[in-house]
Every structure is written in C-alpha cells, then in structure tokens.
Symmetry: D2
C-alpha cells in the first residue's frame, strides 16, 4: 500500500511550512505510518502545472510527473485550504488535469484511476469544509476514484474567527479520531480493491 | 419598507422557541426595528406547505398565504438551520414553491419578485454557512430577487463541536456588526428599487 | 445482494408514474435485475416522513420503516429530480433523517450504514446533475456510505429547454452505458464490503 | 457606465479565439454596446496572476492591473468555462485575489467594490451552470458586489454530449433573451448604485 498526498495550499517554497493544510496532511501521514503505509506529501504550488484538461500540456508542464505519482499510489489524499468557503485554485487546477482520465478508459470502460481510493483534507479559518468535500468527492468520483465512509479530515474555526489550525496548542481529540477513522477506512477499501479490481462493463 | 423573514427550522409548535435560526432572525428583526422597518417572522414548519413547483397545489396547501406575504414585502430574509452542511428540507420546500415565479412574468419579462431584495440567515453547530448562502443566493436570484453586498448573517461553531447559537452567553460582536451591515445594505437597495423598478426587457 | 431505490420526486400517488426520476430508477433496477440483484423502488412522497434528525420522530412518522429497508439493503440508490439546479426537498428530508446515523456508532466508531454502498440518480429538464451528486455524495458519505467510481446515473437536457427524460423516444446510448457501469461498480464494491466489513477504529 | 468582463478560459494566446466562454462574453458585450455601455473583455490566462489572497503578491504579479480595471468599472462580468461541473481554476484564482477586498474596508465598513454590480457567464459542454453561478454569486457577494435578478447568462448542452457553444449554428433565442435581460438588469442596478451609494454602517 502506498499513498500520495497533494497539498493545494497557495503557499510555495519555504512558506509552505506555515501551511495549515500541510499540517493536516502531516497528521494524516503520521496516522498512515502507524499502519505501515508510506504517504508522500507533495506541495502543488512548488510545481509548474499548466492550465488544461489533458495529461500533458507541453514542454515544461510538470503535471505528468504528478500524474505518475497519483497512478503509482493506492490512495490519493487531496488537501486544500478553504478560501471564501471553497477549495483553492491550486486544487481546482489539479482536478482539471485529472479530467483527462475520463478519456483514458480501457476496453472495459475503466479509467486508469479505477481501484484507487481518494480522501480529502480541508482546513480553513472558518467554514467551508463540507462544501469543499462535496465538490472534491464529486470531481474525484467522476474521474474514477472510490470513496470509503467519512473520507474527509477537516478543521475550521468558529464563524468569522481567524485562528490557524497550525497554531492550535494541540490537535483536538475529535479531529484526531476523525483522521484515524478516515485512514482506517481508506486503507481497508484500498486493500480490497487491490485484491479484487473493478471488472468494468461492456 | 416591510420585511418578511421565513424560519426554515425543522422544529414546529412551541419547540420553535428553541430554534437557533429563530434567534438569528430575532436579531435581524431587531436591527430592522432600529431602522423603523417592520419584519414579520414566520416559522415554515408551522404550516402545511405541499411539495410542488406551482403557486397553489390544492385545497389545504398553505403556501399561497406565505407567497402573498413574500410579495407584499420589500425584503425577504430566508433563514435556515444547517444540517450535513446544507440548507434544511423545509427551506428547500419553500424555494421549490418559489420556482413558480419563473413562469409568472409580465410582458417585459419581469417576475412578480422583481424589485424585491433577499438576504439569508444560516445557523448551525459547525460548518456550512457559505455553501448554504451559495445555494440560496442562486435559487433566490434565479426566481427574481436582488442581492445587496454581504447578504448573509450567520453563525457556526468550531469544527465537530455542538454548541447552539441560541445558547451563546452573548452575540459575538462580529456577528452583530455583520447583521447590522446586512440590514443596512438590504434596506438601502430595497429603497432604491422601490423608487426605480427594473424596466425589464423586450 | 439487495438494493433499495428511493425516488425523491415531488409527485405522489398515481402521478408518480409520470416521474422522470422514477423512469431512471426503473432503468437502474432493470440493469440490476440482469445481474440477478433485486432492487425495490420506493416513492418517498407516498409516505409521511416527519421533519427531524432522529431515527424516529413519533407516532405516525413513517421514516422508521424506510430506515429499516435502507439498513436491510446492500446498496442504496437515492434518486432525485432537479429543481433550480438542486436536489428536491423530499430528497433533503430523507438525508436529514439519515443524519441520525452519525450518533448510532458501535464501539469501533462504525455507523449502521458502514459497508453499504450508495449511488445517485438525478434527472431534470436542464442542468444541475453534477451539483446534485456533489451534495448527495457528501451527505451520504458523511453518514457512512461508500461510493464506487462513477456513482451517478443522470440525464438533463440542453440549457433552458423543457424536455422530460420520460418523454425521450429512447434512452440515449451514453446514458444506458453510464447506468450499466454504475450498477457494475456498485455491485462489485458491495460484494467486497459484505465479505470484508470495515474494521472501524479505536 | 463601464463594464469589465473577465474570461476565465483555460486557453491563452491565439487559442483564446476558440473559447466558448469568450463567445458568450462577446454576445454580452454586444448587448451592452446596444445600451451604449462599453465592455472591455480580458482573458485572464494571458496574464501572470500569482496565487494568493492579497491585492499584490510581488514584482511580476499582474493581478494589480486587473484589480484596477475591476474597480474602475461599474459592472463586472465573470465568465468561466465549466469543467467537471465546476468553475475553472483560472476563475477561482481571480476570486481568491478578490478575497483581499474583505480587508480593505473604509470607516463605514464598505469594501472598495461596494456599489459595483456583478454578473456571471458560464459555458460548458454539459451541466454545471447553476452550480457555477451559486459559487460565483456567493464569492462575489462576499467580496462586496451587488447582484441584479437573473445575474447569469449560460449555455450547456444535453447530458454527456460534447457540442461547443461556439460551434452552434446560431445563438438560441432563449439564450439571447437571457443575455438581454441580464444586461438590462445589471445596468439598471449599476446606475442606481452609482447615483446612491451604500451608506455602510457604524
């Protein structure tokens, strides 16, 4: 079992160490580690991902490398900050590029993502996690991923407040148990699908 | 100037006094009172609103009375609790019935709602206010309402917590100033549109 | 394997035979039949489902019977018409009642829905299927269901048109193959999870 | 009266002439021309807009110039293609940068956008326009824009089809009348607000 986590923070370079989304992904990776599953974390803003809906947009476009890593993993964690109650533009860019999977089906109608499990991490100062998961579940499911129950780990503060998740003195217990459950479910589902792939149709 | 507020809480009868959404609407009505505008609050679950997309679904359907009140007011406040990060079924029922406005245009293509201003109140234990406003803005705008800036007053607690807005020791300052601004903007816009109605088209 | 399909049309009684959503659910049930899986279809508007977020709201509330059927099935198909680009109030009512599953976990943190697979059917005159699936995926996943890839069968017409799906001379080929794939994926996943249930956490 | 239209197509350079979103914006600009209002169209992908939530992210960031144009106009048309039923990453990038308006209020609590009117153009092969408008209405309203009724012009084809709007032999009559109404309403509202600005609060 192998997992890849994509951090869709707007921050790049050294600033990414201040990413609350990155902090949530670290917690998820740690929970996976406990289950002996390696989870690589990749900060999307560090790469030059061109706008488009194909798997390769040209020379210099770094999406193909990320695409390879997604397909080499059993589990994809898509982590995004919440701005204006919505997923980030960096997150949307990655989803758009995954749109290409829709046209890459085999003779049984299966996309290359079939059999892979997706989950979501969403972090913001206040409000928006459920909507973010709704949009991401739909997009990820449309492009072939399976979802185990409770496929989101999230934190947002009280309405109109500005605390950052990364600055909390400790991880709230309920957040930690949500992470643990998300990881347990995703791993279980990924193992089942690795052993018994979807047969496809037609 | 006259306002009508619809409380889409799932609670009916005396239970409605425990509605956090109702509490938010009371605060909004109080802010309007200060501006000498009367705001009637109506709890939708107290009425028998039939499923459907017409203005009158039959004998016993109580929507026509509510519809009259909406059209007699200059401002509509649609208040809803948040469940699973989404507006309530009671709120959706009211929006569905307003779908009928789409077919009730005059010879200049204007719905009976044209010139009226809408705003949203959303309250929940945690998360969902931005998504609720997104869905309500879209539905209300589709059926002819105008929206002043910052057309939502909301409160939600920290992620995965269960505090009720109605049980807060006092209204957070930022929530009160949001209510005041929402009311000021909605009143200003409603006054402009009462004086200078949309001319319509064709 | 057993499936239950809930039709969240606004129509009840004999009118329900004119439901385009019902027509889509018939096609899905037929595809399941081919795989020797029985799919019962139940029209929600025929029942008195009280507003609320518990599993039983009182004497006369017919949700408990529907809840039983959901938990007795391996697969839940939630079918909804699209009004104003959104799921119906009848659909939202059912989701609200499923909110109760969140509090009915066992000592491993698992809801009674764990191990069950959900899918969505969405039908409208124009636009809204993706948003409907986003909201339904999120709500259904939040309350414990798993999602196989391409968990939606849908049809909507061209923008601003008014054709009903039930009146199409024949089912578009692409729609039929989408139904077939949705059914194949959901069945495969439900079989895996029936054999190997989620272990839960803590 | 002056309008600015932002085209959030993923296409840049000469390819942008094949943008269906651009075609819709041309139709909107033509409708404005008839009312003697000038509408400049700007293709966002032609500019280097850095990720971030401030008004200026550094040397080379071209957002400040676009921000100036938005604030110099009375009406903002935000046009986006629909991918996976959602607005484009390019559109989200622009909205994120407008998040900065939230912190740029005057002593009456008014953002620099107050008094400006926004509208949406959404174009796709199939499905998603209502959701796109929901997300854009919410984000644009959050950052201070007003919305006249029917603030969207859109086109999407039948479910699972792949026709491009730009390739239609002619503009459907209903689409044209929707454009005309959107323009008439937006202009009327912008004129009222230019004459009578929001007074703000406290």
């Amino acid at each position: 079992m192998k997992a890849i986590a994509l951090n869709a923070t707007l921050k790049s370079g050294p600033d990414r160490s201040k990413s609350s989304t990155g902090h949530m992904l670290d917690l998820i990776a740690a929970a996976m580690k406990k289950e002996d599953v390696d989870c690589e974390i990749l900060t999307l803003a560090d790469y030059d991902i061109w706008p488009g809906v194909t798997s390769g947009e040209g020379d210099g476009d770094e999406w193909p490398m990320i695409r390879e890593k997604i397909l080499a993993a059993d589990i994809l964690i898509l982590g995004t900050p919440i701005w204006l109650g919505q997923p980030s533009s960096v997150c949307k860019r990655a989803l758009e590029r995954m749109d290409a999977f829709l046209g890459e089906t085999d003779d049984r109608g299966r996309m290359p993502t079939y059999g892979r499990v997706a989950a979501v991490a969403a972090v913001g100062n206040e409000d928006g996690a459920h909507h973010v998961s709704a949009e991401l579940y739909q997009a990820l499911n449309d492009v072939g991923f399976s979802l185990a129950p409770n496929a989101i780990a999230y934190w947002v503060g009280e309405a109109m407040k500005s605390t950052d998740f990364i600055d909390l003195p400790e991880t709230p217990k309920k957040v930690q148990s949500t992470i643990d459950m998300m990881v347990a479910n995703a791993l279980h589902l990924a193992r089942l699908l690795a052993r018994d792939p979807y047969p496809g149709s037609r």
